[in-house]
């Protein structure tokens, strides 16, 4: 079973992001970029499926030159191949989904895995848009995946409980936290990944259908009122919540 995994190179969740001089993007020079955390779940799931059923895991990432670093992380975890859709240009997610769909057309796959969400733009849209662009079914934000012959059964969490979804294959799944525990790349994996060739595909330039107007810092919270120490402070807290904050 051949599996395609879409991965994104994103700022570390710890990073303090700052607005760049253009006012519409972030300063990237001091920021550490990593493989998107949700994509780790996607890669891990793909590796487990391959280990159980054979085949190959191919990674696909669209982005600037540096995106290769995250492709290498995925290769170091154990993926077989990586394809880099080289584009420095910023796209809206639908345009990107179409570009990835075109690239996916050149890679044989039985199933596609994406992360639920990229932790930079926080859209949580690409996987499903990619499925539509490829005319494939999709199940988003899955916490469990079972592949049977020609079909798959996935679970997703919704507000009121858990949905069990059955789909034909090929299909696109997006990985939610809880799907698995991603492995750490081993030293051998890292060394091997450094030597693998990453295939490059040029990305067609196209205009974004979403215009960025402005980027701003949200109003910061200025908390810091310590009501007191230990259980003795409880009456005062309750009074403040009731009388001052008026939330009780």
């Amino acid at each position: 079973m051949n599996i395609l995994v879409c991965v994104k190179h994103v700022p570390d969740t710890e990073a303090a992001v700052k607005i760049a001089a253009d006012g519409k993007s972030i300063q990237t020079q001091d920021v550490n970029f990593v493989l998107n955390p949700y994509d780790e779940y996607a890669v891990e799931e793909a590796l487990r499926l391959r280990e159980a059923r054979g085949g190959e895991v191919t990674l696909l990432s669209a982005g600037p030159e540096e995106a290769k670093k995250s492709l290498r992380t995925g290769l170091a975890m154990g993926a077989d191949k990586a394809v880099h859709l080289v584009c420095a240009h910023r796209h809206d997610t639908l345009t990107l989904a179409r570009a990835l769909a075109a690239a996916a057309g050149q890679i044989p796959f039985d199933l596609i895995l994406c992360g639920k969400q990229a932790v930079d733009d926080d859209e949580a849209q690409l996987g499903v848009m990619l499925a539509e662009a490829l005319s494939l079914p999709s199940v988003s934000a899955i916490v469990k995946l079972e592949v049977l012959d020609g079909k798959a059964v996935a679970r997703r969490e919704v507000e009121s409980g858990l949905e069990v979804v059955e789909t034909s294959l090929p299909a696109v799944f997006t990985a939610q936290k809880g799907l698995n525990d991603p492995r750490y790349p081993s030293l051998k994996g890292i060394m091997m990944a450094k030597q693998k060739k990453i295939e490059e595909i040029a990305c067609a330039q196209s205009d974004s259908q979403v215009e960025i107007l402005d980027l701003a810092y949200p109003k910061s919270r200025s908390g810091g009122k310590i009501v007191g120490q230990g259980a003795a402070a409880v009456p005062e807290l309750v009074r403040l919540l009731h009388e001052e904050a008026k939330v009780l």
């Binding site: 639908l94 079914p137 858990l162 979403v210 009122k225 009501v227 402070a233």
Partner: protein, 322 residues
């Protein structure tokens, strides 16, 4: 302006977030028309309840293939409604369902979707929105160049508005055609959560516990407090990864984003990834024995103390108040 809102319902009950989306749509329509779309089992029975929340007209879609939610089926239904109505904007509440439906619909229509927005407006006749990015570290203002402008709205970011029982809406069914094999991914089972549990993202009060709780059993203390307050119970990733709570309870960057009126963090240090999920709460209370814990920097009220003493005392104090 004409705005179309997908009003998510299950078994005749509208999701709170869907009512909020209606409220947002009502304001966005300005003097224009607001059309609600209700899909699935129980749609026409539920539709009259929606009228109080602002739509001028409500379309109901019922079909044997649309009894339960499916990405493809609901997309087709919503697409039909949009083709018929030609709205300027389409709003979908950003629930688990809405975040699944929105991108599929956008891709089907060939228009981008402004995801998880917290503010909506018109900018030179185009749909504009503010969306938190980088886990809320920044706010991005964007404008869709496409027609219609489609957005998913973040739960609790828009007020639902008080229901106006006097409001009338014209309710009409919408026929959709669905081939027997149109839906390839289907829900085959639903496991509902235990009766009486309050959904985290909808709760007005959230009581969350972290590594400081030390065990699965100790979360009983928080459940007791939550019951007293009518609150939902959340958790830090440390608590979830320790196996004390399920993934669905996690608050934060890789968990749920909550914006209750009151958030009580117990034994949580306040890591940046946790803050990402709760700093938009109206009032934050922190209980932590370490006065240096970063959570105190953003909490409105803090108690420096042991959760095992403070939480039971708080539960008692609130019981006494009621």
């Amino acid at each position: 302006m004409k705005v179309l809102v997908f009003a998510e319902q299950r078994e005749g009950e509208f999701r709170k977030a869907a009512l909020e989306a209606c409220g947002a749509g009502r304001r966005l329509a300005e003097g224009g028309e607001l059309v609600g779309v209700v899909i699935g089992r129980g749609a026409s029975a539920a539709a009259p309840k929606l009228a109080a929340y602002g739509p001028d007209r409500i379309l109901t879609v019922e079909h044997p293939q649309l009894e339960l939610y499916s990405t493809e089926g609901y997309t087709t239904a919503l697409e039909a409604a949009i083709k018929q109505e030609q709205p300027d904007a389409v709003l979908i509440a950003g629930t688990a369902t809405g975040r699944d439906l929105g991108p599929r619909l956008g891709a089907r229509l060939g228009v981008p979707v402004l995801a998880d927005v917290i503010n909506l407006s018109w900018n030179e006749g185009k749909l504009a929105a503010v969306r938190p990015i980088y886990a809320g570290k920044l706010h991005l203002s964007v404008r869709s160049q496409a027609q219609p402008g489609v957005a998913t709205t973040r739960p609790k970011a828009f007020p639902a508005g008080a229901p106006d029982p006097g409001r009338q809406a014209q309710i009409s069914p919408l026929e959709v055609e669905l081939a027997p094999d149109a839906i390839r991914a289907r829900v085959t089972q639903m496991h509902s959560e235990a009766e009486g549990t309050i959904e985290l993202t909808e709760a007005d009060i959230v009581v969350s516990g972290g590594r400081g709780l030390k065990s699965h059993e100790n979360f009983k203390l928080l459940e007791e407090l939550a019951r007293t307050l009518g609150a939902a119970v959340g958790a830090s990733r440390a608590a979830v990864d320790s196996g004390w709570r399920t993934h669905g309870d996690q608050v934060g960057q890789t968990g749920k984003v909550v914006s209750p009126t009151l958030y009580i963090a117990c034994g949580i240090s306040g890591a940046i990834q946790h803050l990402a999920g709760m700093t938009s709460s109206k009032v934050i209370v922190a209980i932590n024995k370490d006065p240096e814990a970063p959570i105190f920097k953003i909490a409105d009220y803090g108690i420096v103390g042991d959760v095992f003493e403070v939480v039971p005392a708080l539960t008692e104090a609130i019981k006494a108040m009621k």
